[in-house]
Amino acid sequence: MEKKNIFKKIAVYFFLTLGGITMVLPFIWMISTSLKTKKQLVAYPPVWIPNPVRWENYSEAVGSFPFLQYTLNTLFVTVSVLVGTVIISLCAGYAFARINFKFRDQLFLVILATMMIPGQVTMIPIFKLVKDLGWMNSYLALIIPSLCSGFSIFLMRQFFLSLPKELESAAMVDGCGPFRTLWSIFVPLSKPAIATVSVLSFMGTWNSFLWPLLLISDKNKQMITVGLLQFQGAFSTSYELLMAAAFLSLLPVFLIYFFAQEYFIEGIATSGMKG
């Protein structure tokens, strides 16, 4: 029995490690490639640790393409969407969870239904709408339509439902109106939910590709994902530069993931609970 258990343990760790390596290796390969000389790039068998290390690939990538500009553009749009999403989903989630108003459940169903609609169906009508509004090449086109995320509202509502019922009565005794109650009692309590909504929103906007591709054509205003694809078009065989650029574009997400991973994972794990 003992022996069987040890074998089982070894097998579990073996497969977990194998899976882990599969997940990480492409990223390590990207970093390794990004520091290679042209000669090492095609070396056979592949070289894992570049020697000599060629840091210039990064300055060349940044120098030949406006990555810094794209990063700042993306940061601006991402933060705008994040702030708006947090406010809107906080308000709506609070209303759906704690206020008893007419047609509440039906309206919530509408929110859930819009979550199921594939973005590609609305791709052309939204393109037309943005054109008619005169928002082409404007960040308004990337920010405003993204502000209402059904999933964020859903997350906020779930969180507010989990808070004790006595909170409102305590606030009533203190003479707080509904807005004061939301702002000074519920918002401070909902920091973990806000953090989860924030990281998911960040991830969604930072990685968004379809909308900037359709709605932004001004080169200086482009987002990092579309910029990256254009860079690939221009330097298709210089894999050392492409990998340097890819790494730079991923770096902000990696950093935030490193420091806030429990909120990423919490948010995703919760999505399984709605079934």
Partner: protein, 297 residues
């Protein structure tokens, strides 16, 4: 009585006020575009000027569109190839992570890593890995004594390459969801059963699978929807080629709308895709009662 209705009125007012911003955006950027998309699908429109109504002409064109047929077939292959793989692998790794092991959180974070990254950057990395002459994957095959494969440049393998990359990218999310479900299975259930059976496999198939079947269902439905919508990664990895060998429906819609400027026809394609997704989702929904465990019933 009077104060009660006044309170209800106040509640209504604040409720509507708080959900107003959300509904303005949903109304303008979801509901209106859906209706407008339906209208555009019956129009000819080149992206400028007004859309001209042309009846069901687009729908007739669609039925004779060979490339759409290819794209639809590729998309179905993509769905049928990736979804079962994602379900089985996430179930396997979720179960492994649910054992008593050291470093559970570390492994979970590692598996989730590809899920936080952008499809374009991922496709760039994989393009390099799939490279025929100097790519990592062919070197690996060579080390095992196998022949090298033209992953991206042969029409035989291009779609498979996209599928491999997509499974790799979406696995982490589903492992996290699966693990959360597995952790939610009450321990007592296993204890009751371990009285009369010691087989781990029987426990797995008689308790674990039924208990987490709602989550498996959810992962299935979401993965199918996502797979039908594959776009970023296909565009950045193969661009649908060579030929149309890895062309998927959404990429075809994009090309029709923004390369050929047949926006009306592209709307028709988009609507048909929407209806297909809806039908597939409903079929899964009605099939649910045969295998998904529900506490209510």
């Amino acid at each position: 009585m009077k104060t009660k209705s006044k309170l209800a009125q106040r509640q209504n007012f604040f409720g509507y006020l708080l959900i107003l911003p959300a509904f303005v955006i949903i109304g303008v950027f979801s509901l209106y575009p859906i209706l407008n998309g339906l209208f555009l699908s019956f129009c000819e429109w080149e992206g400028i000027g007004n859309a001209a109504f042309n009846g069901i002409e687009n729908y007739i064109t669609l039925f004779h569109d060979e490339v759409f047929g290819i794209a639809l077939l590729n998309t179905l292959v993509f769905v049928l190839g990736t979804v079962p793989a994602v379900i089985l692998l996430s179930l396997m790794f979720g179960s492994l992570l649910n054992q008593k092991i050291v470093g559970k959180k570390f492994f979970r974070s590692v598996y989730f890593l590809p899920s936080v990254t952008s499809g374009v950057a991922i496709a760039m990395i994989w393009k390099w890995i799939f490279n025929e002459n100097t790519g990592l994957l062919n070197f690996l095959l060579y080390s095992f004594g196998l022949d090298s494969v033209s992953w991206l440049t042969s029409s035989q393998f291009s779609l498979i390459s996209v599928m491999i990359m997509s499974v790799w990218k979406s696995l982490g999310t589903n492992i996290v969801i699966m693990l959360a479900a597995l952790q939610g299975v009450p321990r007592e259930l296993y204890e009751v059963v371990s009285m009369d059976t010691k087989s781990g496999f029987r426990k797995f198939f008689h308790i674990t699978i039924p208990m987490i079947s709602p989550t498996i269902f959810l992962i299935m439905v979401m993965s199918v929807i996502n797979a039908f919508q594959a776009f970023d990664q296909v565009m950045a990895l193969t661009g649908g080629g060579p030929g149309n060998s890895s062309m998927v429906v959404v990429l075809y819609i994009y090309n029709q709308a923004f390369k050929n400027f047949k926006m009306g026809y592209a709307s028709t394609l988009a609507y048909v895709l929407f209806l297909i997704i809806l039908a597939v989702t409903l079929i899964q929904w009605y099939g649910k009662k045969h295998w998904v465990y529900s506490e209510v019933e």
